[in-house]
């Protein structure tokens, strides 16, 4: 078996405030193979984005990596120097951010923002880089790219901006693309276009994807393997098919039940996450024992005292529950 492209081992991210230090993310481990699409799912605030940022070396105060390993292509990078990070970012690992409205510099034409990639990583001159930026825009199917490269971000729609972000991310043919909720802020129709575009381009170039979303349906559709995060921990990880066929964690089951289903939706109306009551606890207020226990339907006494260990499942899966079904 060849080494995976990315291996995260026992990742811990600390949130340091003046009064205390919390673990915003802990015990997170997963692997992504070359060209594989891996999904990370969870409700808002469970730590998906900061996990992704740690892979880019972009955690900033008050957050910091506090333990674990990040291994890219057999090489540990968690302690890389700033210069080493710079050689990785953009070139080998690229990222698309959640907010297309603010992720681009408002005062710089989008063409230039793409062209920077060629200047930075491939030693291109500006005029050559601008030509290639135009090609890159064409590849992400932006109409009349020769005109668009001169446009400023505010002149583009949200979908177009996210295409520009994709063009930037894929400009230097990275081995891994991290897409942090790339479509959350977009219309439903545009969402599908963007997802298809990403999938196509990555498949063509053999780029692996770490797809982050709170939409389990979308992720399962796109990825071979899926990890479900809750309150800073991975609570279940399985193949996408298996997770739908036999979800083992009560939280995962809740997520699946809350997915709008054809037919069912017509009768019930739109009810999102109705199956799971309550809200995600905040970092400072994580309950003792299993962090899901206040919301869990299967909770027993042990859940309130002992934090469940990960139980291995077939095909490299795992579940973190005392009463996994």
């Amino acid at each position: 078996m060849t080494a995976p492209l990315l291996r995260i081992e026992d990742l811990r991210i600390a949130l340091r405030t003046e009064s205390a230090t919390y673990n915003a993310v802990e015990n997170v481990s997963f692997e992504i193979g070359r060209g594989e699409a891996f999904g990370l799912v969870g409700e808002s605030g469970c730590g998906k984005s900061i996990t992704a940022l740690s892979v880019m070396g972009l955690l900033r105060r008050p957050l910091a990596l506090a333990g674990g390993k990040i291994v890219l292509d057999g090489e540990e990078i968690q302690d890389a120097s700033p210069a080493e990070w710079r050689r990785l970012r953009g070139k080998r690992v690229a990222m698309i951010f959640q907010e297309p409205m603010t992720a681009l510099n408002p005062l710089s034409p989008v063409g230039r923002q793409i062209a920077e990639m060629f200047v930075l990583h491939q030693g291109a001159g500006w005029s050559e880089a601008m030509d290639r930026a135009e090609d890159a825009l064409r590849q992400v199917q932006v109409p009349s790219p020769e005109r668009r490269i001169k446009d400023f971000p505010h002149q583009l729609s949200g979908g177009m901006r996210q295409r520009v972000m994709i063009a930037i991310a894929l400009a230097c043919g990275p081995e891994l693309l991290i897409a942090d909720e790339p479509t959350t802020a977009l219309d439903v129709t545009v969402q599908a276009e963007i997802i298809d575009l990403m999938r196509e381009l990555c498949a063509a170039k053999g780029t692996a994807i770490l797809m982050i979303s709170h939409d389990l349906g979308l992720v399962a559709n796109m990825c071979r393997r899926v990890a479900v995060m809750y309150a800073g921990r991975i609570v279940e990880q399985q193949d996408a098919d298996a997770i739908f066929a036999s979800p083992r964690h009560p939280y995962t089951r809740g997520l699946i039940n809350s997915l709008p289903r054809l037919g069912a939706r017509a009768r019930q109306g739109r009810q999102r996450l109705q199956e799971i009551s309550g809200v995600v606890p905040s970092i400072a207020g994580y309950p003792a024992g299993c962090r899901f226990n206040p919301r869990c339907v299967a909770v027993t006494d042990i859940c309130r005292e002992v934090s469940p260990e990960a139980t291995p499942l077939p095909a490299d899966g795992l579940v973190r529950c005392h009463h996994h079904g």
């Binding site: 990070w85 990785l88 970012r89 953009g90 992720a103 408002p106 920077e116 505010h154």
Partner: protein
């Protein structure tokens, strides 16, 4: 660009008219105290004949609206009246003072921008460091200084003690006479710019697009020069425009201190000479200049920020 200018002018003209009205009302409706104030400050009573001449010249016996109309019309024709003292047209009196004033104000602002923006930048790039603390202590001290007192201290140290620079006057109009007054005048806006720039840069450094830039594998230096600088500049430009107002107020005092032959010292001298047309002319001139600067700032704004260029 033309559109912006047009819109701006449409805003400026009513303001200018209002200022003209205010200056007219302040001085023409209440002239008694202004002129007779002279008796009180011990500079001798005004000759009744002179008083009569003044009343006549100001048309004090005409009805108010008529006087105002005349005043506006003559200003529109570029006529600010004649000085009570020298009988010269006020426009000529002010004319020779404009260039020295402009020189001083722009030199002071250049100093403020150069030092203030640099300090703010350095502080923002290392928040919490010694450099940051020192430059911010420096900045708040600059804001608390009385500019003419600072000028007096500069004069004492660099002109009288060390004798590096002339202590006052305009000299041949060269840079040596300009340095001390410009620094004294610039220290206030310098301090404010340092603080504003620091806040602006810190704000921009936290922006999402800066994270994007970092995710591209850019060095911190490039992140700053390619993405932070311009965005922070938008905020700095606004502050520079607004600071011109207080700068021009302070310029009056600094000009007086250094015996600088500008509009400000003309204004003060004219106040003491009860030379009302000259006082009114100087105030109008200063306001006009301030409005012009703000229009320029708006244009600079448009040149820097494309969002404004295309909006509306």
């Amino acid at each position: 660009m033309l559109l912006v200018l047009g819109r701006r002018l449409a805003n400026v003209i009513p303001t200018l008219l209002a200022v003209v009205a205010l200056v007219f009302l302040l001085f023409s409706v209440l002239p008694g105290s202004f002129i007779s104030g002279m008796n009180e400050d011990g500079r001798g009573a005004i000759d009744p004949a002179v008083m009569e001449r003044m009343r006549k010249e100001m048309g004090l016996d005409d009805p108010l609206p008529e006087r105002f109309a005349k005043y506006v019309i003559s200003i529109a024709q570029g006529d600010l009246g004649r000085s009570f003292r020298t009988r010269e047209p006020v426009t000529r009196l002010i004319g020779v003072r404009v260039w020295p004033s402009l020189k001083l104000v722009f030199a002071a602002m250049s100093f403020a921008i150069l030092v203030g923006v640099t300090l703010g930048f350095v502080a923002a790039l290392r928040p919490g460091s010694l450099v940051d603390t020192i430059s911010m202590v420096f900045a708040i001290s600059g804001l608390s200084l009385s500019q003419f007192w600072f000028g007096l201290m500069l004069m004492y140290l660099f002109a009288l003690q060390l004798q590096w620079l002339p202590s006052f006057g305009y000299g041949d109009g060269g840079i040596r006479h300009l340095i001390l007054p410009a620094i004294a005048l610039g220290v206030g806006p310098m301090a404010l710019l340092a603080r504003t720039t620091r806040a602006a840069v810190l704000d921009v450094l936290n922006a999402d697009f800066v994270r994007t830039a970092r995710s591209k594998g850019m060095s911190e230096r490039r992140v700053v020069s390619w993405h932070v600088l311009r965005n922070a500049l938008v905020l700095v430009v606004t502050i520079v425009g607004l600071q011109f107002g207080s700068l021009m107020g302070a310029a009056v005092v600094v000009e007086k201190l250094f015996a600088w032959p500008g509009v400000g010292s003309l204004l003060v001298d004219s106040v003491f000479q009860r030379d009302m047309p000259a006082v009114q002319g100087c105030i109008l001139m200063i306001v006009l200049f301030f409005l012009a600067i703000n229009t320029l700032v708006d244009i600079a704004y448009v040149a820097i920020d494309p969002r404004i260029r295309y909006r509306r």
